[in-house]
Symmetry: C2
Subunit: 150 residues, 2 copies
DNA sequence: TATTGTTATACTCTATAACTATA
DNA sequence: TATAGTTATAGAGTATAACAATA
């Protein structure tokens, strides 16, 4: 039975900060081996969940909408995403992951050895418990569910 | 008993990506209200655990050592950190959080409402369980323990 | 010889403000 | 009037390569 008897909110925040640091570093290094910046990698991660309008992407990534233009420009130039006009609103452009983009983001995740090795120490019950707790803490947050393209 | 019956490694990676995305966005917004960038905030977070040499900081933050000069320059100019010469190695500079720096990073954490509200949904047992699992997955990673200044 | 911190450089990320096309 | 996407701009982050000081 895993457990930390003195886990106040402050301790949990610190533990989340350490965990995030490890995960983010792991992700950044893995993305770099594919020639991608962390921001480009995060963008592909979001698009892996499905197409998204430019503005919705910016919201999910917690950055200003004007940033997305350059990021998507570079990803599109490398053939990892493409812009498609929305059928219902001519102002909107939906960004779609290409097959090559899907291949790259999957390759990046497969290279996150620190995180994968850490998860490998958990048995099936522990994984289910961790998943349930993370869902309860974070899945209710607005940005957790990427806004659907309209 | 919280749990997700279908929590394979791939599902957990996706859930971690969503959770840490929410946490990171929450942190970035909170840091901005204190006039700090995400990188500056992350640097203060690491220093909150104790002093660190420039090089060790870069390792913990998974970035090149040359980046730290500018980041620490700006934080030092605002009085949030200071550089101190190492007593044992004249090449090394230890970076120390000032009282004001400590005040600011604590204020940022107190403003992370998405994360704090999510954690508030957990009872004491759940918090202990989550803490134990996160420790097992991430605390063994090299970057989790900030290299001590020498 | 190797390491620490810094500098110079080029590119990327980021927010702000202004613009256009559309709603 | 409001919203989606873009552009221009300035400041910050980032990796690479080179350097002086020290080990």
């Amino acid at each position: 039975m895993p457990g930390n008897p003195r886990a106040g909110t402050a301790q949990l925040m610190e533990l989340l900060s350490v965990s995030l640091g490890v995960y983010y570093g792991d992700f950044t290094v893995a993305a770099a081996t594919e020639g991608l910046t962390a921001s480009q990698g995060k963008t592909l991660t979001v698009l892996r969940r499905g197409p998204s309008a430019m503005r919705a992407l910016a919201t999910t990534l917690s950055c200003d909408a004007s940033n997305m233009t350059g990021i998507i420009d570079r990803l599109e130039k490398r053939g990892l995403v493409r812009r498609e006009p929305s059928p219902t609103d001519r102002r909107v452009k939906n960004v779609v992951l290409t097959d090559e983009g899907e291949r790259i983001i999957d390759a990046i995740r497969a290279k996150m050895h620190l995180t994968l090795d850490g998860l490998a120490t958990l048995d099936e019950d522990d994984r289910a418990t961790l998943a349930g707790l993370l869902e309860r803490v974070f899945a209710a947050a607005p940005a957790a569910i990427p806004p659907t393209s309209r």
